[in-house]
């Protein structure tokens, strides 16, 4: 009988092959892809970081939040305001951005996560609207509905400058890999097991002596900080921020991406981000219908395949094995 820890430690080498292929693909994308594809690829990687960090809270800890896009927005605006108005370099701005997002997530998360049930979901849903309201109305700080302009690309490190699209792409790839490795070690550590135990049975976890409120908060804050960092990278990539980018639609898209891919798998949401981002771009000609489609898709997934694409793949594989 293998324990859970054994199973985690012995990753069969065959499982690494797709990962290696994926990594090679990511590295050579700028060689053959056009500027537009590369642009979408950067967005996809940022969404993948968002969805993976959201998966820590939703997929592993079992807590629904609807404000991940808001933390992305706060991160973007904070980093942009610090670099443009206060003369920080991009790299210096990352630390205060993390701190601000972390503190805010703690303030919001602590009262809501003490309570079991849907209070947390409702609070975060309202938070997404509240942040949008602030971005729209604090015109002196954020530029309001006119948007925030004048953001420069990150300062060069040594001889590497980030002016061109392809170097920025590699920067985001590095960020993405760090995020995924961090989350992967986290969910496979003891902390990961504690989070999963909260998801499986919160009452039981509590009676085993786990302070569930603290761990739920920890997952929420870690996810938020990663989202904020992704936002900072977005700000210095897109260089124009507008409140509507960070409206509740973005938070919903993060939830949809995670579910499409398969929550609680880490790899699922990452692939989900790739698929959803490219589909969104291809369907740009029908913007309203696009959201109708996503909402309908989400409902179908919830009813028929709550484990998303990863669940579907596993089911297909099991079917093939049965026949073969």
């Amino acid at each position: 009988m293998k324990t859970i820890e054994d199973r985690i430690k012995t990753v069969p080498p065959t499982k690494l092959i797709p990962l290696i292929i994926f990594a090679i693909l990511m590295i050579i994308v700028p060689v053959f892809a056009s500027g537009y594809i590369l642009f979408v690829a950067v967005l996809a990687l940022l969404y993948a970081s968002l969805a993976a960090s959201y998966d820590l809270l939703f997929g592993y800890t079992g807590q629904l939040s609807f404000c991940h896009g808001a933390f992305y927005g706060i991160g973007a605006y904070t980093a942009a305001i610090l670099t443009v108005r206060f003369g920080f370099t991009f790299w210096e701005a990352l630390i205060p951005t993390c701190l601000l997002v972390g503190v805010l997530a703690t303030i919001i998360g602590y009262p809501a996560l003490r309570l079991r049930g849907a209070y947390f979901a409702v609070t975060t849903f309202f938070l997404a609207h509240f942040i949008y309201l602030i971005l729209l109305n604090e015109v002196e700080l954020t530029g309001g509905p006119l948007g925030f302009r004048g953001i420069n690309p990150p300062e060069p490190i040594g001889f590497i400058s980030f002016d061109s699209l392809s170097t920025y792409y590699y920067l985001v790839v590095v960020f993405f890999i760090i995020v995924v490795l961090f989350l992967y070690t986290l969910v496979n550590s003891n902390l990961g097991l504690i989070l999963i135990s909260i998801r499986e049975d919160e009452v039981l976890a509590e009676s085993m002596g786990i302070n569930t409120a603290v761990y739920k908060l920890l997952a929420f804050v870690i996810g938020a900080v990663i989202a904020g960092l992704a936002g900072a990278f977005f700000a210095h990539f897109f260089r124009l921020l507008h409140p509507t980018t960070f409206s509740w639609l973005l938070s919903e898209m993060v939830v949809i991406i995670t579910l499409v891919g398969g929550a609680g798998t880490l790899i699922g949401p990452i692939f989900g981000a790739g698929i959803v981002t490219f589909l969104l771009e291809f369907l740009r000609f029908a913007p309203e219908l696009r959201y109708v489609g996503w909402a309908a898709a989400l409902i179908v997934i919830l009813i028929f395949e709550p484990k998303g694409l990863i669940g579907l793949l596993e089911r297909v594989r099991a079917q093939i094995k049965k026949k073969g």
Binding site: L64, A118, V122, H129, L133, E252, V292, I303
Partner: protein
């Protein structure tokens, strides 16, 4: 002059409060029965407002016949969602909640797609009827809202205390398993609850639409306020919903005059956070 403004704001605040209370009463009923903050009511709010609008514009209904059209639409959609989707997701609260959000998202975007984001003005004979109370002008629409709100509050309370199905709903809200063991037909309870919830949402939408406008984005704020009203008032409490609705309505109208217009819709969030910190069971909730 200043006192006149205060009186007008007071009236506006009460009207707004009654609308929030109506939303809150429907939401608190569903939340306490099914453990689900039913976000899809936000979408039902939008569609029933449109149904009343089209009944007036296309079918030449009078405003007072358009209200029942909205109610039937709201009840029908609400019960359909319950029968078709929420029943299948009862085992997983997170999936049900996600489904509710997705339905809200779906209905809102269907409205954008079919009827464009442009705001439509709903005609109503009561809107332009101005009454004067000691020299203070008040639209009859606001009086209508207050009257309907008070009547509905009494009707709902009598319904849950005096009728058999109403008592069954209250018993289910307290303890679902025990209620089922006592021979209460849970399916009937669920259907009635969602029908009531949909009806209350539709009434709120049909009553407020002539004062504001009908547009796809109209559902979000009443939904958010309704949810805050549920938490502030206390889970499953109708009197709580009414009191919390009025408090929120008054804070918003006076806050927008004396504190900040821009953050009119943000006050509810502060109230929500304060409630969670100071009194998580709400004003009238049991611990």
């Amino acid at each position: 002059m200043t006192s006149e403004i205060i009186w007008i704001q007071l009236f506006n605040g009460i009207t707004l409060g009654v609308i929030y209370a109506l939303m809150g009463m429907g939401l608190t009923l569903i939340w306490s029965i099914a453990d689900l903050p039913d976000f899809s009511q936000g979408g039902i709010y939008i569609i029933s407002a449109y149904s009343a609008y089209f009944a007036i514009i296309l079918l030449n209904f009078s405003y007072f016949f358009a209200i029942p059209v909205a109610i039937i639409t709201g009840m029908a959609i609400s019960v359909t969602f319950e029968r078709l989707l929420y029943t299948r997701l009862r085992a997983s609260p997170n999936a049900a909640l996600l489904c509710a959000i997705a339905l809200f998202f779906l209905l809102e975007n269907i409205a954008v797609y079919l009827w464009t984001p442009k705001a439509k003005i709903m005609p109503s004979p009561t809107k332009d009827m101005i009454l004067y109370f000691a020299g203070i002008p008040v639209s009859f629409q606001r009086i209508l809202i207050i009257i309907v709100g008070v009547v509905l509050f009494i009707v709902i309370n009598v319904f849950v205390k005096k009728t058999k199905i109403g008592k069954a709903i209250m018993a289910t809200a307290q303890d679902r398993e025990a209620a089922a063991l006592m021979g209460i037909n849970l399916e009937k309870v669920y259907i009635t609850t969602w029908a009531l919830g949909g009806a209350l949402t539709a009434i709120a939408a049909a009553l407020i639409s002539p004062l504001y406008a009908v547009y796809p984005g109209m559902g979000t704020l009443p939904l958010l306020k309704g949810l805050v009203v549920v938490i502030l008032g206390g889970m499953g409490s109708f009197i709580g919903a009414l009191v919390a609705g009025l408090i929120l309505g008054l804070i918003e109208t006076f806050g927008s005059v004396y504190i900040s217009v821009a953050y009119q819709h943000g006050f509810a969030f502060i109230i929500l956070l304060l409630t969670l910190v100071i009194r998580p069971q709400g004003l009238f909730g049991r611990r």
